[in-house]
């Protein structure tokens, strides 16, 4: 384990990769898979079964697609802002050694707070709070409220993204970097020829993780839901329809559509990343 960076580097991982699994290990692993099937696949199967016959109502619903469009905007916004900030701060702090520990701790503190608390803080900041005072924002409005809770989510998780990008950068092979320096490579050449190829898998995994996490964002949008407004996320519409509207049929179909769209989205991003890396 690399003590300096806090990240397990591939050359030091002590994994017996070549050993075939014993029968006992397979049985112990299968117990988890059976439990996973009970708590995840059974509800999903039941969800799909219950949704049959309700897709017409969901797929033909303009408010639903408006909510999906809002979810796409929120997801794209969150992922883009976090990726940019993560890279900027991760690269800037890459060689910080002495004070990295306190900075890392402070960066992770917001992630310790609850989703509802972060969303409420963000909403309060833009609805009459300090952000509204500083930038003279008008009160109210569904868009302002949604922007507030998204701001809360950005604040809550951006520090975590910075720490993870930093961890990804710490995996860049030091021998390659030293060799590039010895060969007289400029900072840009080192970045594009050594660092970027090494850090891309970590960034792709991080983007996929943040993409799915933002796509399912529920707490904040549910907090600021307004009847009839499409300024919300797909998860909040499903929850509102199922738990408040008690219309379980359309809610199940909407939930299935939400899962499928999320998988398609992350599949498209992973496919795009593979094509870009292959070039």
């Amino acid at each position: 384990m690399s003590r300096g960076s806090g990240v397990v580097t591939p050359d030091r991982v002590d994994v017996d990769d070549g050993r075939p699994a014993t029968r006992g290990e397979i049985w112990r692993g299968l117990s988890a898979l059976v439990l996973l099937a009970v708590v995840v696949l059974v509800p999903l199967g039941w969800l799909v079964w219950m949704s049959l016959g309700h897709y017409g109502a969901v797929l033909g619903s303009a408010p639903w697609w408006h909510a999906i469009a809002s979810t796409l905007v929120v997801t794209a916004g969150v992922v883009t802002v976090q990726l940019v900030l993560g890279l900027v701060f991760g690269v800037a702090l890459w060689h910080l050694s002495g004070i990295w520990r306190p900075v890392r701790f402070l960066a992770l503190v917001p992630a310790a707070l609850g989703l509802v608390v972060g969303a409420q803080a963000g909403r309060a900041a833009v609805e009459g709070g300090f952000v509204a005072t500083w930038f003279d924002l008008d009160p109210g409005g569904a868009t302002t409220a949604l922007a507030g809770v998204v701001l809360g989510e950005l604040w809550r998780t951006t520090g975590l993204v910075v720490v993870l990008v930093h961890a990804g950068l710490s995996r860049v092979p030091t021998t390659l970097l030293d060799a590039a320096v010895a060969d007289g490579a400029s900072a840009w050449q080192r970045w594009w020829r050594v660092v970027w190829p090494a850090v891309t898998p970590a960034l792709v995994a991080l983007v996929a993780f943040r993409l799915l996490d933002s796509w399912r964002l529920l707490d904040g949008p549910w907090l600021v839901r307004a009847p009839g407004s499409f300024r919300t996320t797909g998860s909040a519409v499903v929850a509102d329809t199922a738990f408040e509207g008690l219309a379980e049929g359309p809610a199940t179909a909407a939930a299935v559509v939400l899962v499928v769209l999320g998988l398609l989205l992350v599949g498209a991003v992973l496919g795009l990343a593979r094509v870009v890396r292959a070039r």
């Binding site: 117990s31 969800l47 500083w134 939930a255």
Partner: protein, 329 residues
Amino acid sequence: MTPTIPTVRSRLTAALVAFVLGFGIANLAIFTLPGPDRVLGVVVAGVLILTSAWAVLVADSPRRISVWAVLGAEVLVVLVLVPVLWLVSLATSTGGTPTTLWPEAWTTDAFTGLSGDEELRGAAGRSAAAAVLATAVAALPALGLATLLARTRWRPRRLVRTATIAAALLPGVALAVGGGDLVLRLGGPFADSVVLRLALVQTAIALPLATWVLTSVLAGAPWSLAEAARADGARTRTVLLRVLLPAVGPALLAGLVLTALVTAQDLALATSVTGPQAPTLPMLLLERAADPAAGAQVAAAGLVAAVPAVVLLLVAPRTVTRLLGGSYR
């Protein structure tokens, strides 16, 4: 890598960026911000401008110091602390939403009120009990699966690993709408106990997450040392207690605590199996947050509820980072 000495141009560019940032913030603070926030803004701007001046002084220095790193650390700390201060401002307000970042009133009523709030204590207890139970149920199977994924060349391990991560990132509402209905139909102890119903549905969060973090833990275990001890004649129990547990025990515990803390954050699954008469902490906070007048209460409860996670970060920051970044490999 042995850090190279930054060029003079790099340091001077960083100095310019620090100065522009500081100058912009100073102008915003002096001309736009109200009283106490103006002082805060000027202090931040002062630090940035001082950093700029220091960067100019050390620009030609042979020391391996990175001005970008210092500037990045300063800006990141400000970006993180501004909302934390806002949460404190909300929690210490006397009613309604405060209009400044710096606390307008330093009342601790919201914090002292927490201890006498039976509903809040009940909700927090329910959340904690269900999350701990779900994590306990998930721990052993997750450890078995994590061993399989981390240590062996089991053929479908890549597929299983992807499926596990996908399960951890599924929209909670999908599982809630599908699974909640099924759990509510269960009889026996599930019909009477909210905590059991919560733990059952929240296992869908705890199991994939525990597998994810425990795979990271086991990937860093000293397996070759364990094999050497076994070759020297040590029994399985001795290897487990003398070699593996001291090496991975703390990370294992941190991983399970992390799993329980994340599981306790669940809103969607909990809403599907319980109602306003027996809410979990996120459900109760969501209900109360709808009323802007209860902002202080919600912020105070949120700050107090974050204490276990902050303690975990203080005790094992490197382990938490490693566990969260486990998907990279």
